[in-house]
């Protein structure tokens, strides 16, 4: 079972994706299933760290927080861009020590920070666990430090570790 379908969640979501993009029919179901099984095996050849989700309950809370933050920072960044040149906005580099080490949690954090306008992930040094961010508005640097350290990191730790 594990050999045939090494990544059941991945393969299943690919079948769903395939069926969403095409019109549902038996032929497409078979073709999609075959493709997703091949893709699953190809993916396992990369030896990815298998995600182990420990607490699913935290995920809706994470999604809700993220949604609110994205709306908020869209407004902030749009305002800053429109007043660009007139205001006193400066950008800054922020270094944040991270406690999470799980690859999948880090990947999710990268998605969260990229999806939120105003923060850009520059680099993560594995040996020291330090994340370097570029923050569009330097006045918000401490805010982001707090949001990452006190809100997102504990949630990601709860989910993955």
């Amino acid at each position: 079972m594990t050999r045939l379908i090494p990544h059941p969640v991945l393969s299943l979501s690919m079948v769903m994706l395939w069926l969403m993009l095409t019109r549902f029919s038996l032929g497409y179901l078979i073709l999609g299933t075959a493709l997703s099984l091949v893709a699953g095996r190809a993916y396992s050849a990369l030896h990815p760290a298998k995600p182990r989700v420990r607490r699913w309950r935290v995920i809706p809370r994470l999604a809700a927080t993220l949604f609110r933050d994205i709306v908020q920072s869209n407004i902030n960044v749009a305002r800053l861009l429109l007043t660009e040149g007139r205001g006193t906005r400066r950008s800054a580099f922020v270094q944040i020590p991270l406690k999470i080490t799980d690859e999948n949690a880090l990947a999710l954090l990268a998605i969260i920070l990229t999806a939120t306008p105003g923060t850009a992930w520059l680099e993560y040094v594995v040996e020291t666990g330090t994340l370097t961010l570029h923050v569009f508005d330097a006045a918000q640097a401490d805010h982001y430090r707090d949001v990452i350290g006190k809100i997102y990191e504990p949630m990601l730790m709860e989910i993955f570790e």
Binding site: I70, N74, A78, G118, A120, W121, L122, E123, T132, H134
Partner: protein
């Protein structure tokens, strides 16, 4: 008959609002992209387009075609998913390439503490 006339007003209004919101944010992002002067600042402008810019247009499209076809049309969200999952990859690649170049040149764009990267451990 124009298929757009079949859309009830209760759907047309949110669709219009979302389309205008999404395209306005994308436009602001593009303007910022053109006006900002430093590379690191420019990394931020397009994220408006990839978050609510895309989001607004996708939700509007899903609402609109669900109303016209009378069934749930949700494959637009696949576009959103792909954008959310792939932008960090591109963004990180650009950012790290720029960091690498600035470090090699000892550029004044970087604060003192960031000019050197800790050496990765030697490979066996």
């Amino acid at each position: 008959m124009n298929p757009l006339q079949a859309v009830p007003l209760a759907v047309a209004i949110p669709v219009a609002i979302l389309v205008v919101l999404g395209s306005t944010l994308t436009l602001i992002g593009a303007l910022g992209f053109a006006r900002l002067s430093s590379f690191y600042d420019r990394l931020h402008a397009p994220t408006l387009a990839t978050s609510w810019g895309t989001g607004g247009i996708i939700i509007a499209s899903a609402l609109m075609f669900s109303a016209i076809e009378g069934r749930a049309v949700i494959h637009e969200f696949v576009i959103g998913l792909c954008i959310i999952v792939t932008t960090p990859v591109t963004l990180m690649m650009l950012a790290r390439a720029s960091l690498h170049r600035d470090r090699a040149e000892g550029s004044a764009d970087l604060p003192e503490a960031m000019r050197i990267r800790p050496d990765p451990p030697a490979l066996d």
